[in-house]
């Protein structure tokens, strides 16, 4: 199955699009902040309620539950000191305990707790909605002039490596 440059009969689909930066989608902010069982069978609800952690639906599912923020694998999570953890499901309490010493990304929480990324995104979204956790989404430029400053800091930081 070796095909070097120019070899083979395969081609790319070849549709070239201009680059428009996609911003992370955020759902309507109608958080109710509760984790009641009437939340329905969507991925987030199922995972959050801590059962098997996965609903066995069809295909890959990453649709955020209505009313909960979309949480990225590179979203940084930190504890919000106010909300009490009592009564939260076990996976949520594991996440809170892990975040006790400081800030970690969703991906690191997933790796350290050995939970699938989709489960941690769902649990984290619930904790953010409930006020237990603060979330900082990864930076994505939206073509605003002041964002060049941040990108230049990224560039200079990389150049100094």
């Amino acid at each position: 199955m070796t095909s070097g440059a120019g070899g083979g009969g395969h081609t790319r689909r070849g549709v070239v699009r201009s680059h428009t930066v996609i911003s992370p989608d955020t759902d309507t902010p109608d958080h109710d902040g509760t984790f009641d069982a009437t939340d329905g069978p969507a991925e987030v609800g199922t995972a959050y309620h801590g059962g098997e952690g996965w609903d066995g639906g069809t295909g890959y599912e990453d649709t955020p539950k209505r009313g909960r923020p979309r949480v990225d694998m590179a979203t940084l999570l930190s504890l919000a000191p106010a909300a009490p953890a009592a009564g939260l499901p076990v996976q949520a309490r594991r996440v809170l305990a892990l975040l006790e010493p400081g800030v970690l990304s969703v991906a690191e929480v997933s790796a350290r707790l050995e939970l699938p990324g989709g489960v941690v995104r769902a649990v984290a979204a619930g904790l953010v909605a409930g006020g237990h956790v603060r979330a900082a989404d990864p930076f994505v430029p939206r073509a605003q002039p002041h964002e060049r400053d941040f990108l230049e800091r990224v560039l200079h930081g990389l150049q100094r490596l």
Binding site: A5, T75, V103, P116, P138, F139, P141, L151
Partner: protein, 196 residues
Amino acid sequence: MASSASERGYLPDGARSVKIVVLGAFGVGKTTFVGTVSEMRPLRTEERLTRAGELVDDVAVDTKSTTTVAMDFGRRTLAGGIVVYLFGAPGQPRFAAMIRSLLTGALGGLVLVDTRHIDRSYASIDLLEEAGVPYVVAVNTFSESPGYSEAVLRDALTLPDDRPLVFVDARTMQSAKHALVALVTDILRPAGSHTP
């Protein structure tokens, strides 16, 4: 005990993350690249796909209906509390939904190419084009790989003229850094200088 928290891999308050996705076929050097740049041993996370898949590449079949896709990731903290997360993910079409999700919120993408299997990188480039995420093609220079000129490689990849192509040795920091600098430099180019 801030120092002990940072020794255990915790980030300081106020850190800001950026996400860069490293795509490419199995064995092309994604994990090597991530490990070279990362300040910590790369970690692994997984995503479950509930569609039956074959036993190939980065995929292990869990059950009849659940497939697990592993992603290695690492991070590098830059000055000013900026943390670059690098996610290595297989660019095969069957993982398109997962990759699309991963590309949401990404600053940019890096496509690793092995010149022995150029066709295996087509799907990664297609996914990035489709998502509208800026990307750079990085040709990983394995010693036994045939060397081709940039023009030949661009033609074979149907790479748009405005997409940078760099040659990297994923094992060395300076080379990996060069690819990341090329990506962020490209993103910083004024809008308008991108040819449509």
